[in-house]
Amino acid sequence: MNSHFPWFILGAPLVSAFVILLFTRGAHKLSASISVGAVFFAFVASVFAFLGPDTHDAISWIDLGDSLRLNIGVTVDALSKVMLLVVTGVGLLVHLYSTVYMGRDESEGRFFGCLSLFMFSMLGIVLADNFAMMFIFWELVGVSSYLLIGHWFTRDSAAEAAKKAFLTNRIGDFGFMIGILMLWSLTGAVGFAELREKLPLATYTPTFMTVAALAIFCGAVGKSAQVPLHVWLPDAMEGPTPVSALIHAATMVAAGVYMLARVFFVMQLSATALTVIAVIGVVTALLAALMATQQDDIKRILAYSTLSQLGYMVMAVGLAAPGAAMFHLFTHAFFKALLFLGAGAVIHALHHEQDIWRMGGLSARMKWTFRTFAVGTLALTGCPFLAGFFSKDAILLAAYQKSLPIFALALLTAFLTAFYMTRLVVVAFLGKARTHEAEHGHDGPAAMTGPLLILGVLSVVAGWSFIADRALGPEIVHGLHEMHGAGGAGVVMTLATLAFLVGTAGGWLLYTGAARDPILIPVFRDKFYFDELYAALIAGTQDVLGSATSWFDKWILDGVIVRGLSGATWGLGFVLRFLQWGNLQAYAFLFGVGVVGLMYLLVFRP
């Protein structure tokens, strides 16, 4: 295996997307097969890349001498290896699941084409060896996310959600671009390896580096849906559920965290930036968990949970523990994809019912879905010895060692996570069926339950050290071990377990047998009025800008420039035409006077 090998991982989904979108879109089953085949190929190739050595291969794209050299390159190192496995592995399972879930959709071909496009873009981010290439794929991921959220574009809410996701992401991406340009202006390099060499030699003020790091962080805020740009992710649930599982839970939203881990050597140059990142992360984690406690839509609960977990990861980066963030990203991808696919199975069985209060009693009839969903829930909430427990523990430990206030908020979030996930499971799966549909729910076919089972197993074992250590690579593992040695591990583990137990018990006691939500907290239910605030803010800004522009147009452009100019010309002409009174001899006289005047000026004056 040589260093050209990773190009095949990148190429397979691209070819698939190309073929499907251009030629076989109408042939649904063929398109699905091509797409699944491509992702299977990419998965197998990723496994080989994972087992093989670290490689790097690049072709020159733009070369303008020393000022700018852009490469299209693929890097396989410890960081991208684990992401490759997660993206192609979860991607493969979601593709398989989609063949059933989208089996009767009238534009199944387009769906699989876009899914392949997404896989291509996401793998591009993972393999990118420089900022410019990462940015291009970053945008491509945004486009494919837009296309997939708006898959059912005839529904207004889906079209709106797609637009919202794209525009919100663009705001973050703009900051990302500024950050890249700032680093480039400082060093003249955009490659990660080059920057790593040149940044220590460069001279800059602390403020410059803080601004640059935070600008780059903006990209992660948009893509990983951190406060204040988190508003798009819950709405993105308008897309098909497999898309929510793959893109808006396991991979794309994790791209922000991956990027932060990849460029952590830039982030750590500014302590201020790290603090801001940690605070934004913990605020996102807490706010999203609070919002999740009062949602009724099964997918929205999971979406807020995703937000909350992403907040954890970002917080870990801010606490200078990108290894812990990558660990949580790794485990989270499995159990969150599992939860979404489980939710999809429920929605599929109940004929597109998403309100958990119209479900209930599903555990008896959807045995496998329930079991795997329960495993995913336990993994997410941090049940000891499941995947989420270890990774969350690592993040909490980092918080405990760096900052106690952040640790307290993170612990509160862990408690809330256990609470709202228990609420979801108890209300949707246990008790009595509340509607006719819920009485007739049933497990999906093998292509649906198969991925659930595989992800269920992974959600249990992904955190165990003999798997996690192998997947994350020696560097991250070494960092995690060092952190464990630094003290506080016992306290944190006890408190985290306690938070899990209290949260689960609270949810269990409060919601068992409940027919309606016993607590109503409007401010959580209404998502802290972020959407309303933004709507008012945007409408207000537009009004002010609009009236200012209108005033300028009316008085300056139309008034002074257009009417003023024509009016002045007309007025001058009106005055001057009184000189034309039609008497020939008067003209001659004036002419003579003029000549005399001119001669006086020319000859006698100076």
């Binding site: 035409r577 034309q580 009174w581 039609g582 008497n583 020939l584 001899q585 001659a588 006289f589 003579g592």
Partner: protein
């Protein structure tokens, strides 16, 4: 008493002033036309005078000015032809040669 350049220029200036006064004050367009010719000839007179009093190293006057005078006479003849033709046409159109009656070129 010898005549100097100033004397010629004085006469020329007087002729020009008379012509100009005629152009401004007279009402008949033909008289105005004649006065115009008077002004041209005033110019001719000063040109000839300049020629006569601008003697070069070889003792001859500067003939350039006199050549210019011939040109002016030629052009004036052509101008008279055109001018009179315009006046005839004007008379046919308006039945008058008085400038006060010809004042329609205004706003």
């Amino acid at each position: 008493m010898t005549l100097t350049l100033n004397d010629y220029l004085l006469v020329s200036g007087l002729l020009f002033a008379i012509g100009f006064a005629g152009v401004i004050l007279r009402r008949n367009i033909i008289i105005i036309f004649m006065c115009l010719e008077l002004m041209l000839n005033a110019a001719n007179l000063s040109l000839v005078a300049f020629s006569r009093f601008h003697v070069g190293a070889n003792g001859l006057p500067n003939y350039n000015a006199q050549v210019l005078v011939f040109f002016i006479i030629t052009v004036a003849a052509a101008e008279v032809a055109v001018g009179l033709a315009i006046i005839v046409a004007l008379y046919r159109a308006r039945q008058t040669t008085h400038v006060e009656d010809i004042n329609s070129l205004k706003f």
